[in-house]
């Protein structure tokens, strides 16, 4: 495969079968390796799409400053694209994310403004909105409500999945901005009647949920529950256990959120077996494990590794 530049190589990721983790010959798991994108995560898709939409609308010109609330991966993708296209990036990120995220953002030239660890990404969103109001010349792409985010999956991830796996019965992905599930999920529902769309949602420690009133929670504007058939909450213990199983069984070195997604995919698989149905379950490998080595997720007992994630925004 040949591309004119790194940015043009985003997407068209491999889909690989998981012969060892698939529970039966009739209930098969398939992993879409989004870690093969330029910065090593699925977020290269929405980041590039949001920037190019802003450019085509005349909202961005070289030298401009992009502002974005992010728990890390979107920021890293934006930083790479911004560097190549001549923009500055200010990433608003919760303080309690992995050290590698800070290092990668800095490496690609982004400026980081930390938001309070209490409240996780909700707090990053709140702070970024405050900064955007104070600095109207900064361009906030706002991945939580920007339809270029979900469209990148509607036009990319979804069609790629259906082309590689026409027999797909289930699609499982992580729920953060909801962009992957809304975009790819909607495409699959339109083109493959009966397909089931399943969300895996990371369950963090108490610190991340904050101490504010319940009415101050946050649901991304992109979210449309009608696209989903089921939504599973996955804690750090199960996420780490599955991340390690993916490495052990299939040799795939993935980040912790992928473990959470695999956990949900295996729940789906178990139900299919119980119902006596065959299934082809595709799920997203969001990123590789490199950014999480410092969290201790891959060494020692699962319990100790899960404990170490307490209070961290690990997905």
């Amino acid at each position: 495969m040949r591309f004119g530049s790194l940015l043009r190589s985003v997407g068209n990721t491999p889909l690989v079968g998981l012969p060892h983790l698939s529970p039966t010959p009739d209930v098969r798991l398939w992993a879409k390796l989004e870690d093969r994108n330029p910065t090593g995560s699925v977020k290269d898709r929405p980041a590039l799409a949001m920037i190019e939409q802003a450019e085509s609308r005349g909202d961005l010109e070289p030298g401009d400053t992009i502002l974005e609330p992010t728990s890390g991966n979107t920021g890293i993708s934006l930083a790479m694209a911004a560097k190549l296209k001549g923009y500055h990036l200010v990433a608003v990120m919760p303080e309690n994310t992995s050290r590698e995220r800070t290092e990668l953002l800095t490496m690609w030239g982004a400026q980081i403004i930390y938001s309070s660890p209490v409240g996780g990404s909700n707090e990053a969103v709140r702070l970024a909105k405050e900064l955007a109001a104070q600095r109207p010349h900064w361009v906030m792409l706002y991945q939580y409500g920007n339809y270029a985010n979900s469209r990148s999956h509607y036009e990319g991830t979804g069609p790629e999945l259906l082309a590689d796996l026409p027999e797909i019965t289930h699609f499982v992905a992580g729920l953060g901005t909801t962009g992957t599930l809304m975009g790819a999920g909607r495409y699959l529902k339109e083109h493959k009647p009966g397909v089931r769309i399943v969300a895996a949602e990371p369950r963090y420690g108490e610190l991340v949920y904050g101490l504010r009133n319940l009415d101050e929670g946050f649901v991304p504007e992109l979210y449309d529950p009608d696209v989903l058939d089921s939504r599973v909450s996955v804690g750090p213990g199960d996420a780490i256990r599955r991340t390690r199983e993916l490495l052990e069984g299939e040799g795939i070195f993935a980040g912790i959120s992928t473990g959470a997604i695999l956990h949900a995919a295996l729940i789906v698989a178990r139900r299919a077996i119980r119902a006596g149905e065959s299934a082809d379950i595709a799920f997203i490998v969001c990123d590789g494990g490199w950014k999480y080595l410092s969290t201790g997720a891959y060494t020692g007992t699962v319990e100790a590794a899960a404990e170490a994630l307490e209070g961290q925004v690990w997905a």
Binding site: S121, G176, G217, V232, V234
Partner: protein, 90 residues
Amino acid sequence: MAVTVEVPTVLRGLTEGQREVEGRGADLAAVIADIDVRHCGFSQRITDQAGLRKFVNVYLNDEDVRFLDGLRTSVADGDVVTILPAVAGG
């Protein structure tokens, strides 16, 4: 039916600081009503006339009840109900 309900930090003022409380009932609505008898105001913080409040997520054995039968979701002995504020990612 006795189920365990995991209480988020923001609601522990209503449960004397307890992280978990027990509730009884055939479905989620009944369990919440039962807890409200002992911890007054509990129900109102989680539900309104329309059902579950917008920024509250309730999971039955880790599954979002909005994709089951909402407040009418049946519960069984030993089930675990988790209540959490909605948070973002990305």
